[in-house]
């Protein structure tokens, strides 16, 4: 049966754990946009000054970050944590005024709790030993060495488990747990990321690149870059096959590139590729020249320009009256 003193201890532990658990899951309810901006900017340190949040700092960098926070809150797409994660992804974890609750930063929250638990247990053991030693009337039952070792091991494991669990709870409650965080932090697998991976894959791994562009087009059917480069890779890979397949690829490529140009008439890459395809695979020099000239006017990137410089000369020679 539990003594009264032990009951008090159990009650204290249950209430503390309950309050921590409640605090960890509570929802503070909706805030105004300005409240959100203030809350977020108070969580971010000024990157160019010491000991100031961007909420109070007048530094130029702080003003830029505040403007970005206001813009993102105004857009209403990202949560507070996601906005903070965006800033931390750019400026590094040093701008977080509250250390993260994940990765190595979590040690800041966990270690004090572990140490506290270890110290409390050590004190309890010391008091218990003194009490037993001073109680001369009580017969002391001496444990065997193996029993002592087992008790010690169980005690150590329990202490560490309780300490780490408590520390994790404190970290969850007090630390920053930002979205999409891995051990080292990370940037979301966005459309930009998939497009960059597709660039990296093609043309050495055309199938992977085409799959990645298709993935982008599933969520963003009007993505001009994905439309253009998927069509271009389809045509390049079709050139090694028979006439029928090449004709099919030609038709779909011209349609896709035409759509890309319709969506963004200023995108030079689509015009250059259309010029190349129309001439090399369709044999239409006049149309090709028109597309190539329009592409050059729009200052294509170096790699694309490298593809059309020779073609432009060739077309001029062919179309010379």
């Amino acid at each position: 049966m539990l003594t009264r003193r032990r009951l008090v201890w159990v009650a204290i532990i249950v209430v503390t754990a309950g309050l921590l658990a409640f605090g960890a899951v509570r929802d503070t309810g909706p805030l105004t946009q300005q409240d959100r901006i203030d809350t977020i900017t108070k969580r971010i340190a000024c990157p160019t000054c010491d000991g100031e949040s961007i909420y109070v700092s007048r530094a130029s960098a702080s003003q830029s970050i505040r403007a970005e926070v206001a813009r993102q809150v105004g857009d209403g797409v990202r949560t507070d944590d996601e906005v903070v994660a965006y800033i931390a992804d750019r400026f590094g974890g040093e701008v977080l005024l509250l250390p993260r609750a994940t990765g190595v930063d979590a040690l800041i929250w966990v270690l004090p709790v572990v140490l506290t638990v270890v110290l409390v247990v050590a004190l309890w053991l010391a008091f218990r030993r003194w009490r037993l030693a001073s109680a001369t009337t009580t017969p002391v039952q001496v444990a065997s060495p193996s029993q002592r070792r087992r008790s010690l091991a169980i005690g150590v494991v329990l202490t560490v488990v309780v300490g780490v669990a408590g520390g994790a709870l404190v970290a969850r409650q007090a630390g920053q747990r930002l979205p999409l965080e891995t051990f080292t932090g990370g940037i979301e697998d966005s459309t930009a990321s998939i497009l960059a991976q597709a660039r990296l894959a093609g043309p050495s791994d055309v199938k992977t690149a085409i799959d990645l562009y298709s993935r982008v087009l599933e969520t963003d059917p009007d993505n001009v870059e994905a439309l253009t480069y998927r069509a271009w890779l389809v045509m390049l890979s079709a050139r090694q096959f028979d006439e029928a397949l090449r004709a099919q690829a030609f038709a779909s490529t011209v349609t896709a590139l035409g759509r890309a140009i319709q969506i963004d008439p200023e995108y030079p890459d689509a015009m250059c590729f259309l010029g190349i395809v129309v001439y090399r695979d369709g044999g239409d020099a006049a149309s090709a020249k028109e597309f190539v000239d329009r592409c050059i006017e729009r200052d294509p990137p170096v790699q694309v320009r490298g593809l059309i410089d020779a073609l432009a000369t060739e077309l001029d020679a062919e179309l010379k009256p």
Partner: protein
């Protein structure tokens, strides 16, 4: 060995390691500075030049792009200008020449125009009126220089003024990596 001695020794080792880390670690300045953006796709940037021409970073994929964050009153920015001029001259002969852009940081268009009219440099100057580009790249102080590869990945960050030949050297390394 007594447990007390082991404990003391452990504490001493930890303290010594801590002091060693503090002594060895240096500040974050210079070439190849860390950033969470390195190796990641470059942020989507859309703005205009001071000549009102539109600029979209995603449309520059296929070219090496160098962003130089600049303010006409910042002394290191002024100091590095001759190095940038030489870099652009050297790049002109390359088949995959770099596109250099100045990103204006907390400065007026006219001040930037005057600076370049006096000191030369005919590459495009991008507006960043609300600091969105600086925030997207995590730029707190100028000058800073970033290199983005033709696939759109951020490859290098240089904090502070660029010394003579540094950009050429870094580009040669990056091109070698790209080609391998």
């Amino acid at each position: 060995m007594k447990s007390a001695k082991i404990g003391t020794l452990s504490v001493a080792v930890v303290v010594a390691a801590f002091i060693a880390v503090l002594l060895v670690s240096d500040g974050e300045t210079g070439v190849a500075v860390r950033s969470p953006l390195l190796g990641q796709p470059a942020p989507a940037i859309q703005t205009t030049t001071i000549d009102d021409a539109p600029f979209d970073l995603t449309r520059r994929k296929g070219s090496w792009v160098v962003f130089n964050f600049f303010n006409s009153t910042c002394v290191p920015c002024i100091a590095e200008h001759p190095s940038l001029m030489r870099f652009v001259e050297n790049e002109a002969g390359q088949p995959d020449s770099v596109e250099l852009y100045t990103v204006i940081n907390d400065d007026a268009d006219d001040a930037v125009r005057n600076f370049f009219a006096t000191n030369d440099g005919d590459w495009p100057k991008l507006r960043d009126n609300d600091g969105a580009i600086a925030v997207a790249f995590g730029v707190a102080k100028v000058p800073e220089t970033w290199i983005i590869d033709p696939n759109g990945f951020v490859r290098l960050r240089i904090l502070g003024a660029v010394a003579d030949g540094v950009l050429e050297e870094q580009m040669a390394k990056l091109r070698a990596t790209e080609g391998s």
